[in-house]
């Protein structure tokens, strides 16, 4: 007698495999693959309905990855740096969708920097993942804007320019959910993803995701060895869904912080840096500045503010998504036209 393993299903009856995508075509060991895998797991654990999710990307290694998760969700691979505008349009057209955008440091910090900032400014409700490796992979090894100053790369030479900090840029633009993580820390990535998927507006996850082919020397802050040795999580993060009760543990007073998301779920933060408060905008910016200056690899929830309404909320949209409105809602009556036309006489 053979025993078949019982396939585990989540609360809506889907298996983990239902959240997977196609096999990756990225390099073996690429951090992006680990992130894709965590997206699948987070979606499975959150019981997301695949048809209610859209996945979007720009151009580059990172932007290929939406093919490698959530195969039952619609996706669109847009233009280089232009995923934010696609997302903005899609999400005003149908505000009931949950959106995952995957971008890279070149796609976001260079060619798409304007759209990135404006997406955040409008607070389009989506998870914006930057798979940040400091280098252009598909074109074989040019510096990106997040590369370390004075870094040397085999083909590109020395980078004379300072790195842009995408978390700081997001905070300045008005982002209410700013996190940094490391593809080598799958649990943290997963918990942040789950929280971000329930944020009210744009949630930025700046995930250092090493390029094992072009930028993996230990001296680079975007390398796997550097990340492994230097990751300094500000908190130990757990996402607690709305329905679940929080297990009360014995914590030192002041060592735990909770932030409540728009849907009532909670991000439970066990502080590893005692005095860090991610709801303090100026402290967040100061901490990022210090980290950049001292080559510290801080990860965790850098900044949170759940108060600002999303673009869909300020657009006075009806509950029914625009794409589902019937013709009679979209085309005013003949009387209405006749009335308007009397004003042109």
């Amino acid at each position: 007698m053979t025993t078949r393993p019982i396939e585990r299903k989540n609360a809506i009856g889907l298996a983990a495999a239902d959240y997977k995508g196609l096999p990756t075509t990225l390099c073996q060991g690429c951090g992006h693959n680990s992130i894709a895998s965590q997206i699948s797991t987070a979606a499975y654990e959150l019981n997301l309905r695949p048809h209610e999710v859209i996945k979007m990307s720009g151009i580059g290694c990172s932007s290929k990855s939406p093919a490698y998760f959530l195969g039952m969700s619609h996706g669109i691979n847009a233009l280089h740096g232009r995923m934010p505008s696609i997302a903005t349009g899609a999400l005003v057209a149908n505000h009931s969708l949950k959106a995952l955008g995957v971008s890279g440091d070149g796609d976001t910090g260079s060619i798409g920097f304007g759209q990135f900032k404006h997406l955040i400014r409008r607070n389009v409700r989506m998870v914006y993942i930057v798979e940040n490796n400091g280098v252009y992979g598909l074109t074989k090894g040019q510096f990106s804007v997040t590369a370390d100053q004075d870094q040397r790369l085999k083909y590109a030479g020395v980078n004379p320019f300072p790195a842009l900090d995408l978390c700081a840029e997001a905070i300045i633009a008005g982002c209410g959910f700013v996190a940094r993580s490391f593809s080598g820390d799958p649990k943290q990535v997963r918990e942040l993803l789950k929280a971000a998927l329930n944020h009210r507006g744009t949630a930025l996850l700046d995930i250092i995701s090493p390029c094992v082919t072009f930028n993996n020397e230990e001296s680079s802050t975007k390398s796997y060895p550097f990340g492994k040795d230097h990751e300094f999580p500000l908190q130990d993060i757990s996402y607690v869904p709305k329905q679940e009760e929080i297990m009360i543990e014995d914590y030192q007073p002041g060592s735990v912080q909770e932030v409540t998301l728009h849907d009532g779920s909670i991000i439970h933060l066990r502080k590893l840096e005692a005095h860090y408060d991610p709801t303090n905008r100026l402290q967040a910016l100061a901490r990022l500045e210090k980290a950049q200056h001292e080559r510290e690899f801080i990860t965790g929830l850098i900044y949170f503010d759940g108060e600002r309404p999303s673009l869909a909320e300020v657009s006075h949209l009806p509950e029914t998504p625009l794409v589902q409105l019937p013709e009679e809602k979209l085309r005013p009556s003949p009387d209405a036209l006749a009335r308007v036309m009397t004003s042109f006489r």
Binding site: P50, I54, R122, P321
Partner: protein, 614 residues
């Protein structure tokens, strides 16, 4: 061929300026009002225009304005035509000279026997021996109003309204109605302005002896007609076409289209009780983002549009290509203006035709709609969305500044007869248990089926990409997949030929000569054909209303010996497209193209054709 400048102002025979015996010229002349930009003269000019319209006289107004907020010269042309002609004329017989900075040239532009009305407060009165001048004491009236600052300027314009009304014989009741129209019935404003008009009217009656022949007299030619600009008509048409998402970036001369869209959506598509809006307008950070939002919304299933002009269209090139290849509906209104960068931002052109037709890199061919009237601007509001969704592709509506920003007479718009067509969209219920192939030509018309995000079916999803894909929307670099997909897209374009608006044809049996034109040149062509007919040259006329062309265009060309393709650009862009569509008929197609930023005139069109005809 033939790019020739219009000849210098009218060579009329010598006319005696002060001949009281000149026969009256009734309802057949042009007037130009010269003012400075930002002085509020537009209100005064539109009041004159609408008052004449309300007298039943065919009229057209054209604003020749600078790219400037305040201070630079601006001219407003009003053509009064008992015959119903609405094209620009080379010459205006009546000049309202209220801009001292330009009067020296303005008065030179008058024909002999013309009229110049100017403020008597100027130190140097404008003079030309063969022109009749009337001086109006502007400051005297303004002082009486007790208004201050800017309001003085605004009200000053009403002085010339009163003087002109008296001199031309415009019905003062109609002036009052026009003011009421303009101020939307706000009585205090109407009264204030009318008071000044009346003062000037009475003063002119008492103090000026009219010696010129130009006057208006009531007709019954505008009953039932409306006076509206193309941008407003386009906006209204889009509302009735079911637009749900608009994204845009401000640019002259398309900005007012979105302004009107916002106004009518707010009035007609917002629930007054809940305040909920079944639409979204996003002012994007640039045109690149604007078209990105439109494509994103179209991908998600919305009726999405943007409105722009040439420079914005340039920024939209990459997304236009993506939408063509990924097969996403989008509607782009291009209110054309002259040149790149600033170019001539407040002047009209048909210079974006070639660019828009193939916008995008690689092999790309788009559908262009070519409205020629404000009525078509309204109609194409629905047509553009239906075509975009039925064909799953971007549709460009090519209008221009002249059509978009100037006021045109039009019969009332027809309520759309076409339903809102969503094209081949599969719902969860319609999905085959085995799923579907996003890019398969199931029906042989090149148009595949699509599903929208949010469709609850395990096989509904697909991954949209511009890059190589097979019929299942899977990434593919196989040569056959790329080739087959391109061949299907070409097939879809052939289908489009039969779906786009057919050309409007006026065939004259005896005519050897045919004219092909499109867009806002329509009134100039119609008038030119009358002139040519009178000169013994009958012509047939085919007005393109869309690209790609269909068989009717070929037949028309074949039926005539010589075809003149008339357009407002330097290189004869439409002729080039027609030649590439019908290379065997190329020698029949002659280009009559000209661009200087001003709308074409009938005289120029007629003379350019006569010159070639010999």
């Amino acid at each position: 061929m033939s790019v020739s400048a219009p000849e210098s102002p009218l060579a009329v025979e010598e006319a005696s300026a002060r001949s009281a015996d000149r026969p009256p010229v009734i309802n057949d002349f042009s007037m130009v009002v010269a003012t400075a930009n930002g002085t509020g003269s537009q209100t005064a000019n539109l009041t004159l225009l609408r008052a004449i319209f309300k007298m039943g006289i065919p009229v057209n107004g054209k604003n020749i304005f600078p790219s400037n907020i305040e201070g630079l010269p601006t001219w407003y042309h009003i053509r009064v035509s008992k015959d119903g002609y609405t094209a620009r004329r080379h010459t205006s017989e009546v000049l309202v000279a209220f801009n001292e900075a330009t009067v020296a040239q303005d008065i030179k532009d008058l024909p002999p026997g013309g009229v110049c009305i100017y403020p008597s407060d100027w130190r140097t009165p404008p003079g030309r021996a063969d022109v009749i001048t009337y001086a109006i004491p502007l400051n005297q009236f303004v002082r009486k109003t007790e208004l201050k600052g800017k309001y003085r300027d605004y009200i000053a314009n009403m002085v010339y309204v009163g003087a002109v009304a008296q001199l031309l014989g415009i019905d003062m009741e109609k002036i009052k109605e026009a003011l009421s129209f303009h101020f939307k019935g706000r009585q205090k404003l109407v009264d204030q302005n009318y008071g000044v008009v009346e003062m000037a009217y009475e003063w002119t009656a008492a103090n000026i002896v009219k010696t010129d022949p130009y006057r208006v007299a009531p007709m019954n030619e505008t009953a039932g007609l409306m006076l509206i600009d193309g941008n407003e008509a386009a906006a209204l048409g889009s509302v009735f076409g079911g637009v749900t998402v608009a994204a845009w970036y401000p640019i002259t001369p398309s900005t007012s289209l979105i302004d009107y869209l916002g106004k009518y959506l707010h009035d007609l598509r917002r629930d007054p009780e809940t305040g909920q809006q079944n639409y979204v307008i996003v002012q994007a950070e640039d045109e690149l983002a604007a078209i990105g939002m439109v494509v994103g919304a179209g991908w998600a299933g919305a009726r999405a549009m943007t409105s722009t002009s040439g420079p914005g269209l340039s920024l939209m090139a990459e997304f236009a290509g993506l939408a063509y290849y990924a097969e996403v509906p989008a509607v782009i209104w291009d209110v054309q203006r002259v040149g790149p960068a600033t170019g001539l931002p407040t002047r009209t052109s048909q210079g974006d035709i070639s660019f828009a037709y193939t916008l995008g890199h690689g092999d790309t061919k788009h559908i262009l709609l070519l409205p020629g009237t404000v009525g078509e601007c309204f109609d194409f509001g629905t047509t553009a969305f239906n075509l975009a969704e039925e064909l799953q592709t971007p549709v460009f509506v090519m209008t221009d500044l002249d059509l978009g920003m100037n006021n045109w007479m039009t019969p009332p718009f027809h309520y759309p007869t076409e339903p809102i067509k969503r094209g081949k969209v599969l719902t969860a219920e319609q999905l085959n248990p085995h799923g579907f192939a996003r890019y398969r030509d199931v029906d042989g018309d090149g148009i595949p089926y699509r599903t929208l995000p949010g469709t609850e079916h395990p096989l509904a999803a697909y991954f949209t990409r511009g890059s190589g894909h097979n019929e299942l929307a899977q990434y593919s670099e196989k040569a056959a997949d790329w080739y087959n997909n391109m061949a299907r897209l070409a097939r879809k374009f052939e289908t489009a030929r039969q779906l786009v608006p057919a050309p409007a044809i006026e065939e004259v049996k005896s005519a050897e000569v045919g004219i092909i034109a499109y867009g806002s040149t329509l009134p100039a062509i119609e008038e030119a054909r009358d002139r040519l007919q009178a000169a013994g040259l009958p012509t047939s006329f085919l007005r393109l209303r869309a690209l790609p062309i269909n068989g009717e265009v070929r037949d028309f060309v074949e039926r005539h010996d010589r075809i003149y393709v008339v357009e407002m650009n330097r290189d004869g862009q439409m002729r080039q497209i027609l030649v590439s569509e019908m290379p065997d008929l190329a020698t029949k197609l002659h280009s009559i193209s000209y661009l200087d930023g001003l709308p074409l005139t009938a005289r120029w069109v007629a003379e350019a054709i006569q010159k070639v005809e010999g």
